[in-house]
Symmetry: C2
Subunit: 207 residues, 2 copies
């Protein structure tokens, strides 16, 4: 039986609640591992190295690229963000379902490399609700909110490349749906090839 974990890529509009959902997923179930990105940007207040991100220099990041130590990487403004390969691969081998919370550019690149990965896009139920959530955070300037909404409009174009859309209306309900959705993937034929091959062998040799 194939016991390898599922590689799950989660993206979504900022304000969709995906950060909260990921936190809840980790706290409520123990079969998940959350991949931590490497970045060249400076830590923000309260961010912890090795927990929120691996904070590295541009030289270190370049070395990781050269050594093929990143599953994907992307540049935003002046900073690089990437997914360290070794953690993801070793957790998958252990049978853990590994969650990558990354942007669309990285998501598509992962999907090219791992066709069996599961791509989920998290969205609020409406654009109005997205705006309301961004305003309610109380941490964003009006200009920033406008920027984020513009960015969302651009991102929406790429949503069609994902496998599933999770419309996050109620957090607890979304958490359960997300968990079930990921667990269902273990039934996908591509994750059951060993079972099929065993079964075929048994059927041919059955006395």
């Amino acid at each position: 039986m194939n016991k390898k974990g599922i590689l799950v890529v989660v993206s979504g509009f900022s304000g969709a609640g995906k950060g909260t959902l990921m936190k809840m997923l980790m706290e409520n179930y123990d079969n998940y591992s959350l991949s931590i990105s490497a970045t060249t940007r400076a830590p923000r207040e309260g961010e912890v190295n090795g927990k929120d991100y691996f904070f590295v220099t541009k030289e270190e990041f370049q070395r990781m690229i050269n050594n093929d130590e990143l599953l994907e990487y992307a540049q935003y403004v002046d900073n690089y963000y990437g997914t360290p390969r070794s953690y993801v691969e070793s957790e998958l081998e252990k049978g853990k379902d590994v969650i990558l919370e990354i942007e669309i550019q990285g998501a598509l690149s992962i999907h090219g490399r791992y066709p069996d990965s599961l791509l989920i896009f998290v969205t609020p139920p409406s654009a109005k609700e997205l705006k309301r959530r961004l305003i309610n955070r109380g941490t964003e300037t009006e200009e920033n909110i406008k920027k984020r909404l513009n960015r969302a409009a651009q991102e929406a174009v790429g949503v069609e490349n994902y496998d599933y859309i999770l419309i996050n209306d109620d957090l607890n309900e979304s958490l359960e749906r997300l968990h079930k959705l990921i667990q269902d993937q273990h039934m996908r034929v591509c994750h059951q090839l060993d079972f099929i091959s065993d079964m075929s062998k048994q059927l041919r040799t059955l006395e």
Copy 2:
């Protein structure tokens, strides 16, 4: 919002329990419609026309083929089996999830025509268990059991073309997994294109 139903194709080894599962699915949930096949074979004792099958003559079946009234059809030994199109299409339009219980040949033909259909293959947990179930039916001759197991060995080759494998160990558990699996499909991007397009429009026109 796209409210169209999901087209679900269920196949499986004979003895996998798929007939029982389909019956339970219909009895326990009301969002499903079971497609009834047309066939040229004679009714067996107890079989009801319009419930188990639509029993038709070879001439009627040929006319249905000519008029493009069948979604798929296949021949087994001397008999034809096919899926009447109009029922399936009208139920999907109503938002019902429509279940086709058909063989692999028909399943692949449906998938070619409806790429968004969901293909599920039901199997017992092992070949030994499959044999045990066939024997326990008490209705099959030893020769027939051998034939069915041989056929299963051939069918196993085609399983890789399905989307999901449902290993039917416990019926109640399998029922729940099957139902959840189908309901999850409503979150697939291909079934949410209207939502994505609405959301994009809203984001671009948000004031």
